[in-house]
Subunit: 317 residues, 2 copies
Protein backbone atom coordinates (compact mmCIF):
# COMPACT_ATOMS: atom_id res chain seq x y z
CA UNK A 1 0.00 0.00 0.00
CA UNK A 2 1.29 3.48 -0.91
CA UNK A 3 1.02 6.65 1.16
CA UNK A 4 -2.42 6.93 2.77
CA UNK A 5 -4.54 9.82 1.50
CA UNK A 6 -7.28 11.31 3.64
CA UNK A 7 -10.08 13.79 2.99
CA UNK A 8 -11.10 16.71 5.19
CA UNK A 9 -14.43 18.47 4.76
CA UNK A 10 -15.65 21.84 6.07
CA UNK A 11 -19.45 21.91 6.01
CA UNK A 12 -20.73 25.49 6.11
CA UNK A 13 -24.22 26.93 5.85
CA UNK A 14 -23.66 27.97 2.22
CA UNK A 15 -20.59 26.04 0.99
CA UNK A 16 -18.99 22.63 1.50
CA UNK A 17 -15.22 22.54 0.99
CA UNK A 18 -13.40 19.21 0.67
CA UNK A 19 -9.65 18.67 0.45
CA UNK A 20 -7.73 15.46 -0.18
CA UNK A 21 -4.32 15.45 1.44
CA UNK A 22 -1.36 13.18 2.01
CA UNK A 23 0.07 12.10 5.37
CA UNK A 24 1.87 15.41 5.80
CA UNK A 25 -1.36 17.29 5.05
CA UNK A 26 -0.22 18.56 1.67
CA UNK A 27 -3.39 19.25 -0.33
CA UNK A 28 -3.52 17.21 -3.57
CA UNK A 29 -7.11 17.97 -4.60
CA UNK A 30 -9.99 20.18 -3.53
CA UNK A 31 -13.63 20.83 -4.36
CA UNK A 32 -16.17 23.42 -3.32
CA UNK A 33 -19.94 22.97 -3.68
CA UNK A 34 -23.10 24.79 -2.59
CA UNK A 35 -24.60 23.21 0.57
CA UNK A 36 -27.90 21.39 0.27
CA UNK A 37 -29.84 21.38 3.53
CA UNK A 38 -31.38 18.57 5.57
CA UNK A 39 -29.83 15.21 6.44
CA UNK A 40 -29.99 13.84 2.90
CA UNK A 41 -28.84 17.11 1.35
CA UNK A 42 -25.83 17.42 3.66
CA UNK A 43 -24.77 13.79 3.14
CA UNK A 44 -25.16 14.13 -0.65
CA UNK A 45 -23.14 17.34 -0.80
CA UNK A 46 -20.30 15.94 1.32
CA UNK A 47 -20.17 12.71 -0.76
CA UNK A 48 -20.04 14.70 -4.02
CA UNK A 49 -17.39 17.12 -2.70
CA UNK A 50 -15.18 14.28 -1.41
CA UNK A 51 -15.60 12.36 -4.67
CA UNK A 52 -14.63 15.39 -6.75
CA UNK A 53 -11.63 16.27 -4.56
CA UNK A 54 -10.46 12.63 -4.63
CA UNK A 55 -10.67 12.49 -8.41
CA UNK A 56 -8.63 15.69 -8.65
CA UNK A 57 -6.03 14.04 -6.39
CA UNK A 58 -6.02 11.06 -8.77
CA UNK A 59 -7.72 8.47 -6.52
CA UNK A 60 -11.13 6.90 -6.15
CA UNK A 61 -13.00 7.94 -2.95
CA UNK A 62 -13.04 4.29 -1.81
CA UNK A 63 -9.22 4.35 -1.85
CA UNK A 64 -9.12 7.06 0.83
CA UNK A 65 -7.85 5.90 4.21
CA UNK A 66 -10.41 8.05 6.02
CA UNK A 67 -12.60 11.15 5.93
CA UNK A 68 -12.89 13.85 8.58
CA UNK A 69 -15.83 16.25 8.63
CA UNK A 70 -16.14 19.58 10.46
CA UNK A 71 -19.75 20.61 10.93
CA UNK A 72 -21.55 23.35 12.88
CA UNK A 73 -23.80 22.46 15.81
CA UNK A 74 -23.50 20.15 18.77
CA UNK A 75 -21.34 17.18 17.78
CA UNK A 76 -20.98 13.91 19.66
CA UNK A 77 -17.64 12.96 18.12
CA UNK A 78 -17.50 9.47 19.62
CA UNK A 79 -20.91 8.59 18.17
CA UNK A 80 -20.47 10.60 14.95
CA UNK A 81 -23.74 12.38 15.68
CA UNK A 82 -24.76 16.00 15.01
CA UNK A 83 -27.62 18.04 16.45
CA UNK A 84 -28.72 21.70 16.67
CA UNK A 85 -27.08 22.50 13.31
CA UNK A 86 -29.85 24.94 12.44
CA UNK A 87 -27.96 26.46 9.46
CA UNK A 88 -27.88 23.02 7.85
CA UNK A 89 -31.54 22.23 8.51
CA UNK A 90 -30.56 19.57 11.07
CA UNK A 91 -32.52 20.79 14.07
CA UNK A 92 -34.69 17.94 15.27
CA UNK A 93 -33.36 14.46 15.96
CA UNK A 94 -29.58 14.00 16.15
CA UNK A 95 -28.25 13.09 12.70
CA UNK A 96 -26.03 10.02 12.32
CA UNK A 97 -23.69 11.90 10.02
CA UNK A 98 -20.60 9.68 10.34
CA UNK A 99 -22.68 6.55 9.85
CA UNK A 100 -24.54 7.92 6.83
CA UNK A 101 -21.31 9.04 5.16
CA UNK A 102 -19.49 5.79 5.95
CA UNK A 103 -22.27 3.83 4.23
CA UNK A 104 -22.06 5.97 1.11
CA UNK A 105 -18.28 6.36 0.89
CA UNK A 106 -17.20 2.96 2.18
CA UNK A 107 -14.37 4.39 4.29
CA UNK A 108 -13.98 5.36 7.99
CA UNK A 109 -15.50 8.77 8.82
CA UNK A 110 -14.97 11.01 11.84
CA UNK A 111 -17.09 14.05 12.65
CA UNK A 112 -16.19 17.08 14.76
CA UNK A 113 -17.58 20.53 15.50
CA UNK A 114 -16.35 22.94 12.82
CA UNK A 115 -14.75 25.39 15.25
CA UNK A 116 -12.85 22.53 16.90
CA UNK A 117 -11.78 21.26 13.47
CA UNK A 118 -10.56 24.76 12.58
CA UNK A 119 -8.58 24.97 15.83
CA UNK A 120 -6.84 21.69 14.97
CA UNK A 121 -6.26 22.97 11.43
CA UNK A 122 -4.67 26.17 12.73
CA UNK A 123 -2.48 24.05 15.00
CA UNK A 124 -1.24 21.98 12.02
CA UNK A 125 -0.42 25.15 10.05
CA UNK A 126 1.78 26.68 12.74
CA UNK A 127 5.51 25.96 12.55
CA UNK A 128 5.85 25.99 16.35
CA UNK A 129 3.60 24.25 18.86
CA UNK A 130 2.21 25.81 22.02
CA UNK A 131 -1.37 25.91 23.25
CA UNK A 132 -3.69 27.66 20.87
CA UNK A 133 -7.23 29.03 20.82
CA UNK A 134 -9.00 29.66 17.56
CA UNK A 135 -11.54 32.47 17.91
CA UNK A 136 -14.18 31.90 15.27
CA UNK A 137 -15.97 35.16 14.45
CA UNK A 138 -18.80 34.31 12.09
CA UNK A 139 -22.51 34.97 12.53
CA UNK A 140 -21.86 33.95 16.13
CA UNK A 141 -18.77 33.76 18.33
CA UNK A 142 -17.04 30.66 19.72
CA UNK A 143 -13.55 29.34 20.36
CA UNK A 144 -11.77 26.01 19.83
CA UNK A 145 -8.89 24.96 22.04
CA UNK A 146 -5.81 22.87 21.34
CA UNK A 147 -3.85 22.00 24.51
CA UNK A 148 -0.69 19.93 24.25
CA UNK A 149 -1.48 19.17 20.62
CA UNK A 150 -4.91 17.75 21.42
CA UNK A 151 -8.41 19.16 21.20
CA UNK A 152 -10.02 20.13 24.51
CA UNK A 153 -13.78 19.61 24.13
CA UNK A 154 -14.82 19.83 27.77
CA UNK A 155 -17.07 17.55 29.78
CA UNK A 156 -20.12 18.12 27.56
CA UNK A 157 -18.59 19.55 24.41
CA UNK A 158 -19.25 23.12 25.58
CA UNK A 159 -15.65 24.30 26.07
CA UNK A 160 -15.13 27.54 24.15
CA UNK A 161 -18.77 28.70 24.10
CA UNK A 162 -17.55 32.15 25.07
CA UNK A 163 -20.07 33.93 22.84
CA UNK A 164 -22.58 33.51 25.66
CA UNK A 165 -20.52 34.98 28.46
CA UNK A 166 -22.41 38.16 29.49
CA UNK A 167 -20.12 41.21 29.67
CA UNK A 168 -22.64 44.07 30.00
CA UNK A 169 -25.77 43.96 32.21
CA UNK A 170 -27.10 46.95 30.20
CA UNK A 171 -26.25 45.35 26.85
CA UNK A 172 -28.46 44.07 24.05
CA UNK A 173 -30.71 41.04 24.38
CA UNK A 174 -29.00 37.92 23.02
CA UNK A 175 -30.76 35.17 21.09
CA UNK A 176 -29.72 32.79 23.90
CA UNK A 177 -32.05 34.51 26.37
CA UNK A 178 -29.39 36.40 28.29
CA UNK A 179 -28.36 40.06 27.97
CA UNK A 180 -25.08 41.65 26.89
CA UNK A 181 -23.39 38.42 25.76
CA UNK A 182 -19.98 38.82 24.10
CA UNK A 183 -21.65 37.64 20.88
CA UNK A 184 -23.89 40.75 20.87
CA UNK A 185 -20.72 42.85 20.41
CA UNK A 186 -18.09 40.66 18.73
CA UNK A 187 -19.79 38.76 15.90
CA UNK A 188 -20.66 39.27 12.27
CA UNK A 189 -24.32 39.61 13.21
CA UNK A 190 -23.48 42.30 15.79
CA UNK A 191 -21.38 44.24 13.28
CA UNK A 192 -24.12 44.00 10.64
CA UNK A 193 -26.71 45.21 13.18
CA UNK A 194 -24.52 48.17 14.16
CA UNK A 195 -23.91 49.36 10.59
CA UNK A 196 -25.96 48.25 7.61
CA UNK A 197 -24.18 48.70 4.31
CA UNK A 198 -26.10 49.75 1.21
CA UNK A 199 -24.25 47.16 -0.83
CA UNK A 200 -20.96 45.27 -0.83
CA UNK A 201 -19.57 42.35 1.19
CA UNK A 202 -21.09 42.42 4.70
CA UNK A 203 -17.73 41.64 6.35
CA UNK A 204 -15.56 44.15 4.51
CA UNK A 205 -17.86 47.08 3.67
CA UNK A 206 -18.02 48.59 7.20
CA UNK A 207 -14.21 48.76 7.18
CA UNK A 208 -14.15 50.32 3.73
CA UNK A 209 -16.77 52.87 4.76
CA UNK A 210 -14.86 53.64 7.98
CA UNK A 211 -11.66 54.13 5.99
CA UNK A 212 -13.56 56.45 3.64
CA UNK A 213 -14.58 58.68 6.56
CA UNK A 214 -18.05 57.37 7.50
CA UNK A 215 -18.24 58.17 11.24
CA UNK A 216 -21.05 55.70 11.98
CA UNK A 217 -19.15 52.88 10.25
CA UNK A 218 -16.00 53.85 12.17
CA UNK A 219 -17.88 53.72 15.48
CA UNK A 220 -19.37 50.31 14.60
CA UNK A 221 -15.95 48.95 13.64
CA UNK A 222 -14.32 50.28 16.80
CA UNK A 223 -16.99 48.79 19.08
CA UNK A 224 -16.71 45.47 17.27
CA UNK A 225 -12.90 45.45 17.50
CA UNK A 226 -13.04 46.25 21.22
CA UNK A 227 -15.41 43.29 21.61
CA UNK A 228 -13.01 40.96 19.79
CA UNK A 229 -10.22 42.29 22.04
CA UNK A 230 -12.38 41.50 25.08
CA UNK A 231 -12.78 37.94 23.75
CA UNK A 232 -9.00 37.62 23.36
CA UNK A 233 -8.47 38.90 26.93
CA UNK A 234 -11.07 36.39 28.18
CA UNK A 235 -9.27 33.51 26.44
CA UNK A 236 -5.93 34.50 27.96
CA UNK A 237 -7.32 35.09 31.49
CA UNK A 238 -9.09 31.72 31.51
CA UNK A 239 -6.95 29.34 29.44
CA UNK A 240 -3.72 31.34 29.12
CA UNK A 241 -3.11 29.93 25.67
CA UNK A 242 0.10 31.10 24.03
CA UNK A 243 -1.69 32.23 20.88
CA UNK A 244 -5.19 33.35 19.88
CA UNK A 245 -5.86 32.90 16.16
CA UNK A 246 -8.68 34.97 14.65
CA UNK A 247 -10.78 33.12 12.07
CA UNK A 248 -14.27 33.05 10.58
CA UNK A 249 -16.10 35.02 7.91
CA UNK A 250 -15.43 38.38 9.53
CA UNK A 251 -11.66 37.92 9.10
CA UNK A 252 -12.15 38.30 5.32
CA UNK A 253 -11.27 41.98 5.92
CA UNK A 254 -7.69 40.94 6.71
CA UNK A 255 -5.03 43.14 8.29
CA UNK A 256 -7.24 46.15 9.16
CA UNK A 257 -9.15 43.83 11.52
CA UNK A 258 -5.95 42.52 13.10
CA UNK A 259 -4.57 46.05 13.54
CA UNK A 260 -7.83 47.32 15.10
CA UNK A 261 -7.93 44.40 17.56
CA UNK A 262 -4.26 44.88 18.46
CA UNK A 263 -4.88 48.61 19.04
CA UNK A 264 -7.77 47.76 21.39
CA UNK A 265 -5.54 45.25 23.22
CA UNK A 266 -2.82 47.88 23.58
CA UNK A 267 -5.42 50.18 25.18
CA UNK A 268 -6.19 47.37 27.68
CA UNK A 269 -2.45 46.99 28.36
CA UNK A 270 -2.10 50.74 28.97
CA UNK A 271 -4.93 50.58 31.54
CA UNK A 272 -3.87 47.52 33.53
CA UNK A 273 -0.34 46.29 34.39
CA UNK A 274 -1.61 42.68 34.51
CA UNK A 275 -2.74 42.93 30.88
CA UNK A 276 0.62 44.45 29.93
CA UNK A 277 2.42 41.61 31.73
CA UNK A 278 0.35 39.09 29.79
CA UNK A 279 1.41 40.70 26.49
CA UNK A 280 -2.08 40.41 25.01
CA UNK A 281 -1.43 42.35 21.79
CA UNK A 282 1.50 40.12 20.89
CA UNK A 283 -0.49 36.93 21.24
CA UNK A 284 -3.17 37.53 18.61
CA UNK A 285 -2.74 36.33 15.03
CA UNK A 286 -4.74 36.18 11.83
CA UNK A 287 -4.91 33.22 9.47
CA UNK A 288 -4.36 33.65 5.76
CA UNK A 289 -7.73 34.54 4.28
CA UNK A 290 -8.07 31.52 2.08
CA UNK A 291 -6.49 28.90 4.34
CA UNK A 292 -8.88 25.90 4.36
CA UNK A 293 -8.31 25.55 8.06
CA UNK A 294 -11.40 23.59 9.14
CA UNK A 295 -11.01 21.16 6.20
CA UNK A 296 -7.33 20.67 7.07
CA UNK A 297 -8.19 20.11 10.73
CA UNK A 298 -10.81 17.56 9.70
CA UNK A 299 -8.21 15.81 7.50
CA UNK A 300 -5.81 15.81 10.45
CA UNK A 301 -8.48 14.10 12.56
CA UNK A 302 -9.00 11.42 9.91
CA UNK A 303 -5.24 10.90 9.80
CA UNK A 304 -4.95 10.86 13.62
CA UNK A 305 -7.65 8.24 13.84
CA UNK A 306 -5.67 6.03 11.50
CA UNK A 307 -2.62 6.38 13.70
CA UNK A 308 -4.69 5.52 16.80
CA UNK A 309 -6.18 2.51 15.03
CA UNK A 310 -2.86 1.04 13.96
CA UNK A 311 -1.91 -1.98 16.07
CA UNK A 312 1.18 -1.32 18.13
CA UNK A 313 4.42 -3.17 17.34
CA UNK A 314 3.82 -5.27 20.46
CA UNK A 315 0.45 -6.53 19.22
CA UNK A 316 1.75 -7.35 15.76
CA UNK A 317 4.76 -9.39 16.84
Amino acid sequence: MGAALVAGVDVGGTKVLAVVADERLRVLGRARLGTRRGERGVVDTVVRAVTEAAHRAGVAPAALAGVGVGVPGLVDASAGRVSHAVNLGLHDQPTELAGGLRERLGVPVVVENDVNAAALGAHTLRPVGGDLALLSIGTGLAAGLVLGGRLHRGARGAAGEIGHVPVDPAGMACSCGQRGCLETIASGAALAAAWTPGAGHPATSPWQAAAAGDAAAAAAVERFSAGVAAAVRLLVLTWDVETVVLAGGVTEVGRPLLEAVRAALRRQEATAPLMAALGLSGRVELLGRRAPVAALGAAWMARGRLVDDLPSAQEVS
Copy 2:
Protein backbone atom coordinates in the same frame (compact mmCIF):
# COMPACT_ATOMS: atom_id res chain seq x y z
CA MET B 1 12.86 1.69 53.00
CA GLY B 2 9.36 1.98 54.51
CA ALA B 3 6.43 3.97 53.20
CA ALA B 4 7.51 7.42 52.05
CA LEU B 5 5.99 10.29 54.00
CA VAL B 6 5.61 13.73 52.45
CA ALA B 7 4.67 17.15 53.81
CA GLY B 8 2.27 19.66 52.25
CA VAL B 9 2.18 23.28 53.32
CA ASP B 10 -0.43 25.99 52.74
CA VAL B 11 1.15 29.41 53.24
CA GLY B 12 -1.51 32.06 53.86
CA GLY B 13 -1.26 35.72 54.74
CA THR B 14 -2.06 35.03 58.41
CA LYS B 15 -1.53 31.29 58.96
CA VAL B 16 0.77 28.55 57.71
CA LEU B 17 -0.72 25.03 57.80
CA ALA B 18 1.50 21.98 57.35
CA VAL B 19 0.38 18.36 57.07
CA VAL B 20 2.49 15.22 56.93
CA ALA B 21 0.86 12.43 54.97
CA ASP B 22 1.55 8.93 53.71
CA GLU B 23 1.56 7.78 50.08
CA ARG B 24 -2.23 7.62 50.02
CA LEU B 25 -2.44 11.15 51.44
CA ARG B 26 -3.71 10.06 54.84
CA VAL B 27 -2.76 12.85 57.27
CA LEU B 28 -0.53 11.60 60.10
CA GLY B 29 0.43 14.95 61.61
CA ARG B 30 -0.40 18.61 61.23
CA ALA B 31 0.68 22.00 62.58
CA ARG B 32 -0.66 25.53 62.26
CA LEU B 33 1.42 28.65 62.96
CA GLY B 34 1.05 32.40 62.52
CA THR B 35 2.78 33.62 59.33
CA ARG B 36 5.88 35.77 59.69
CA ARG B 37 6.38 38.04 56.70
CA GLY B 38 9.32 38.63 54.40
CA GLU B 39 11.59 36.00 52.83
CA ARG B 40 13.25 34.98 56.06
CA GLY B 41 9.98 35.04 58.01
CA VAL B 42 8.17 32.86 55.48
CA VAL B 43 11.01 30.32 55.27
CA ASP B 44 11.27 30.16 59.09
CA THR B 45 7.53 29.66 59.54
CA VAL B 46 7.36 26.89 56.93
CA VAL B 47 10.38 25.11 58.42
CA ARG B 48 8.90 25.26 61.92
CA ALA B 49 5.46 24.10 60.75
CA VAL B 50 6.90 21.18 58.77
CA THR B 51 9.14 20.20 61.68
CA GLU B 52 6.23 20.24 64.12
CA ALA B 53 3.91 18.29 61.78
CA ALA B 54 6.66 15.73 61.13
CA HIS B 55 7.28 15.21 64.83
CA ARG B 56 3.56 14.68 65.36
CA ALA B 57 3.70 12.05 62.62
CA GLY B 58 6.60 10.41 64.43
CA VAL B 59 9.41 11.23 61.98
CA ALA B 60 12.26 13.70 61.73
CA PRO B 61 11.80 16.34 58.96
CA ALA B 62 14.96 15.07 57.24
CA ALA B 63 13.26 11.66 56.88
CA LEU B 64 10.50 13.14 54.69
CA ALA B 65 10.63 12.11 51.04
CA GLY B 66 9.63 15.58 49.90
CA VAL B 67 7.82 18.81 50.76
CA GLY B 68 5.24 20.65 48.64
CA VAL B 69 4.37 24.28 49.32
CA GLY B 70 1.33 26.23 48.11
CA VAL B 71 1.92 29.97 48.24
CA PRO B 72 0.03 33.04 46.97
CA GLY B 73 1.50 35.18 44.19
CA LEU B 74 3.13 34.45 40.87
CA VAL B 75 4.96 31.14 41.11
CA ASP B 76 7.53 29.77 38.71
CA ALA B 77 7.10 26.13 39.68
CA SER B 78 10.01 24.81 37.61
CA ALA B 79 12.43 27.28 39.26
CA GLY B 80 10.77 27.17 42.70
CA ARG B 81 10.52 30.95 42.65
CA VAL B 82 7.78 33.25 44.02
CA SER B 83 7.04 36.90 43.25
CA HIS B 84 4.21 39.43 43.76
CA ALA B 85 3.14 37.71 47.00
CA VAL B 86 2.25 41.05 48.57
CA ASN B 87 0.40 39.49 51.54
CA LEU B 88 3.60 37.73 52.54
CA GLY B 89 5.82 40.78 52.14
CA LEU B 90 7.53 39.22 49.10
CA HIS B 91 6.97 42.01 46.58
CA ASP B 92 10.31 42.98 45.17
CA GLN B 93 12.77 40.47 43.77
CA PRO B 94 11.54 36.94 43.08
CA THR B 95 12.13 34.78 46.17
CA GLU B 96 13.97 31.45 45.77
CA LEU B 97 11.52 29.74 48.09
CA ALA B 98 12.13 26.12 47.05
CA GLY B 99 15.90 26.62 47.24
CA GLY B 100 15.78 28.33 50.65
CA LEU B 101 13.57 25.61 52.10
CA ARG B 102 15.61 22.78 50.60
CA GLU B 103 18.71 24.16 52.25
CA ARG B 104 17.06 24.34 55.65
CA LEU B 105 15.09 21.06 55.51
CA GLY B 106 17.55 18.91 53.57
CA VAL B 107 14.80 17.33 51.44
CA PRO B 108 13.38 18.01 47.93
CA VAL B 109 10.91 20.92 47.84
CA VAL B 110 8.35 21.87 45.18
CA VAL B 111 6.46 25.18 45.14
CA GLU B 112 3.13 25.97 43.49
CA ASN B 113 0.57 28.77 43.50
CA ASP B 114 -1.85 28.20 46.39
CA VAL B 115 -4.99 28.19 44.23
CA ASN B 116 -3.42 25.58 41.94
CA ALA B 117 -2.39 23.53 44.97
CA ALA B 118 -5.95 23.73 46.31
CA ALA B 119 -7.34 22.60 42.93
CA LEU B 120 -5.06 19.54 43.06
CA GLY B 121 -6.08 18.95 46.67
CA ALA B 122 -9.78 19.07 45.77
CA HIS B 123 -9.06 16.61 42.97
CA THR B 124 -7.43 14.15 45.39
CA LEU B 125 -10.42 14.40 47.77
CA ARG B 126 -13.04 13.50 45.16
CA PRO B 127 -13.98 9.85 44.83
CA VAL B 128 -14.54 10.16 41.06
CA GLY B 129 -12.26 11.88 38.55
CA GLY B 130 -13.39 14.31 35.88
CA ASP B 131 -12.07 17.74 35.06
CA LEU B 132 -12.38 20.16 37.93
CA ALA B 133 -12.08 23.88 38.56
CA LEU B 134 -11.52 25.19 42.05
CA LEU B 135 -12.98 28.68 42.45
CA SER B 136 -11.06 30.38 45.22
CA ILE B 137 -13.11 33.20 46.73
CA GLY B 138 -10.88 34.99 49.20
CA THR B 139 -9.91 38.65 49.29
CA GLY B 140 -9.67 38.26 45.50
CA LEU B 141 -11.06 35.77 43.00
CA ALA B 142 -9.17 33.17 40.94
CA ALA B 143 -9.56 29.60 39.74
CA GLY B 144 -7.31 26.55 39.53
CA LEU B 145 -7.85 23.91 36.88
CA VAL B 146 -7.22 20.16 36.89
CA LEU B 147 -7.63 18.56 33.45
CA GLY B 148 -7.11 14.83 33.01
CA GLY B 149 -5.71 14.63 36.54
CA ARG B 150 -3.04 17.26 35.88
CA LEU B 151 -2.76 20.93 36.70
CA HIS B 152 -3.27 23.30 33.78
CA ARG B 153 -1.15 26.39 34.47
CA GLY B 154 -1.28 28.02 31.05
CA ALA B 155 1.52 29.44 28.91
CA ARG B 156 2.56 32.05 31.51
CA GLY B 157 0.94 30.73 34.68
CA ALA B 158 -2.09 33.00 34.19
CA ALA B 159 -4.75 30.33 33.54
CA GLY B 160 -7.69 30.90 35.87
CA GLU B 161 -7.13 34.61 36.51
CA ILE B 162 -10.85 35.10 36.00
CA GLY B 163 -11.12 37.74 38.73
CA HIS B 164 -9.94 40.28 36.17
CA VAL B 165 -12.44 39.51 33.43
CA PRO B 166 -14.58 42.70 33.16
CA VAL B 167 -18.31 41.92 33.25
CA ASP B 168 -19.81 45.42 33.66
CA PRO B 169 -18.59 48.54 31.80
CA ALA B 170 -20.49 50.64 34.39
CA GLY B 171 -19.06 48.67 37.32
CA MET B 172 -16.67 49.65 40.08
CA ALA B 173 -13.02 50.47 39.49
CA CYS B 174 -10.83 47.43 40.15
CA SER B 175 -7.40 47.53 41.77
CA CYS B 176 -6.03 46.10 38.52
CA GLY B 177 -6.81 49.31 36.61
CA GLN B 178 -9.87 48.02 34.76
CA ARG B 179 -13.54 48.56 35.58
CA GLY B 180 -16.27 46.11 36.57
CA CYS B 181 -14.00 43.06 36.95
CA LEU B 182 -15.66 39.90 38.29
CA GLU B 183 -13.54 40.37 41.43
CA THR B 184 -15.36 43.67 42.18
CA ILE B 185 -18.56 41.62 42.65
CA ALA B 186 -17.56 38.08 43.66
CA SER B 187 -14.85 38.34 46.31
CA GLY B 188 -14.52 38.72 50.05
CA ALA B 189 -13.36 42.31 49.55
CA ALA B 190 -16.40 43.09 47.39
CA LEU B 191 -18.78 41.60 49.95
CA ALA B 192 -17.10 43.52 52.78
CA ALA B 193 -17.33 46.75 50.76
CA ALA B 194 -21.02 46.18 50.06
CA TRP B 195 -21.97 45.54 53.69
CA THR B 196 -19.77 46.44 56.65
CA PRO B 197 -20.59 44.48 59.79
CA GLY B 198 -20.36 46.14 63.21
CA ALA B 199 -18.62 43.05 64.57
CA GLY B 200 -18.38 39.33 63.87
CA HIS B 201 -16.58 37.22 61.28
CA PRO B 202 -16.34 39.16 58.01
CA ALA B 203 -17.29 36.11 55.93
CA THR B 204 -20.28 34.89 57.94
CA SER B 205 -21.81 38.01 59.49
CA PRO B 206 -23.47 39.39 56.29
CA TRP B 207 -25.28 36.05 55.93
CA GLN B 208 -26.33 36.06 59.58
CA ALA B 209 -27.58 39.65 59.26
CA ALA B 210 -29.44 38.78 56.02
CA ALA B 211 -31.05 35.79 57.73
CA ALA B 212 -32.05 38.06 60.62
CA GLY B 213 -33.90 40.39 58.23
CA ASP B 214 -31.33 43.10 57.44
CA ALA B 215 -32.34 44.21 53.91
CA ALA B 216 -29.00 45.83 53.09
CA ALA B 217 -27.14 42.68 54.11
CA ALA B 218 -29.58 40.56 52.06
CA ALA B 219 -28.98 42.73 48.99
CA ALA B 220 -25.20 42.52 49.45
CA VAL B 221 -25.36 38.74 49.82
CA GLU B 222 -27.59 38.35 46.75
CA ARG B 223 -25.34 40.50 44.55
CA PHE B 224 -22.30 38.58 45.75
CA SER B 225 -23.96 35.20 45.12
CA ALA B 226 -25.00 36.27 41.62
CA GLY B 227 -21.37 37.24 41.00
CA VAL B 228 -20.14 33.82 42.15
CA ALA B 229 -22.77 32.23 39.87
CA ALA B 230 -21.44 34.35 36.98
CA ALA B 231 -17.95 33.02 37.74
CA VAL B 232 -19.25 29.43 37.67
CA ARG B 233 -20.99 30.08 34.32
CA LEU B 234 -17.76 31.58 32.97
CA LEU B 235 -15.78 28.49 34.00
CA VAL B 236 -18.27 26.16 32.32
CA LEU B 237 -18.56 28.23 29.11
CA THR B 238 -14.79 28.45 28.73
CA TRP B 239 -13.39 25.19 30.16
CA ASP B 240 -16.55 23.06 30.44
CA VAL B 241 -15.17 21.37 33.53
CA GLU B 242 -17.43 18.69 35.00
CA THR B 243 -17.34 20.25 38.47
CA VAL B 244 -16.71 23.68 39.99
CA VAL B 245 -15.65 23.49 43.63
CA LEU B 246 -16.12 26.62 45.76
CA ALA B 247 -13.30 27.31 48.20
CA GLY B 248 -11.58 30.15 50.01
CA GLY B 249 -12.26 32.17 53.14
CA VAL B 250 -15.73 33.21 52.04
CA THR B 251 -16.91 29.57 51.98
CA GLU B 252 -16.64 29.56 55.80
CA VAL B 253 -20.36 30.39 55.73
CA GLY B 254 -21.08 26.88 54.40
CA ARG B 255 -24.35 25.68 52.94
CA PRO B 256 -26.18 29.05 52.82
CA LEU B 257 -23.52 30.20 50.31
CA LEU B 258 -23.89 27.03 48.22
CA GLU B 259 -27.69 27.34 48.23
CA ALA B 260 -27.59 31.04 47.25
CA VAL B 261 -25.18 30.33 44.37
CA ARG B 262 -27.29 27.39 43.17
CA ALA B 263 -30.42 29.57 43.28
CA ALA B 264 -28.65 32.20 41.16
CA LEU B 265 -27.55 29.47 38.70
CA ARG B 266 -31.13 28.18 38.49
CA ARG B 267 -32.22 31.73 37.58
CA GLN B 268 -29.65 31.66 34.75
CA GLU B 269 -31.00 28.27 33.63
CA ALA B 270 -34.56 29.61 33.61
CA THR B 271 -33.47 32.51 31.35
CA ALA B 272 -31.39 30.62 28.80
CA PRO B 273 -31.91 27.09 27.38
CA LEU B 274 -28.14 26.77 26.80
CA MET B 275 -27.51 27.28 30.52
CA ALA B 276 -30.22 24.74 31.35
CA ALA B 277 -28.65 22.24 28.92
CA LEU B 278 -25.29 22.75 30.64
CA GLY B 279 -26.84 21.92 34.03
CA LEU B 280 -24.93 24.67 35.81
CA SER B 281 -26.62 24.36 39.21
CA GLY B 282 -25.79 20.65 39.41
CA ARG B 283 -22.10 21.18 38.76
CA VAL B 284 -21.19 23.39 41.71
CA GLU B 285 -19.94 21.92 44.99
CA LEU B 286 -18.61 23.12 48.30
CA LEU B 287 -15.65 21.66 50.14
CA GLY B 288 -15.89 20.72 53.79
CA ARG B 289 -15.07 23.87 55.73
CA ARG B 290 -11.99 22.57 57.44
CA ALA B 291 -10.56 20.43 54.64
CA PRO B 292 -6.83 21.33 54.39
CA VAL B 293 -7.16 21.29 50.63
CA ALA B 294 -4.18 23.43 49.57
CA ALA B 295 -1.86 21.58 52.00
CA LEU B 296 -3.11 18.22 50.67
CA GLY B 297 -2.61 19.37 47.09
CA ALA B 298 0.92 20.51 47.96
CA ALA B 299 1.58 17.09 49.53
CA TRP B 300 0.23 15.43 46.38
CA MET B 301 2.68 17.49 44.31
CA ALA B 302 5.58 16.39 46.52
CA ARG B 303 4.44 12.78 46.12
CA GLY B 304 3.92 13.16 42.36
CA ARG B 305 7.41 14.50 41.93
CA LEU B 306 8.77 11.43 43.66
CA VAL B 307 6.79 9.20 41.31
CA ASP B 308 8.09 11.13 38.30
CA ASP B 309 11.63 10.81 39.57
CA LEU B 310 11.46 7.04 40.04
CA PRO B 311 13.30 5.15 37.32
CA SER B 312 10.94 3.01 35.24
CA ALA B 313 11.05 -0.79 35.47
CA GLN B 314 12.78 -0.79 32.09
CA GLU B 315 15.66 1.33 33.33
CA VAL B 316 16.12 -0.70 36.49
CA SER B 317 16.26 -4.14 34.86
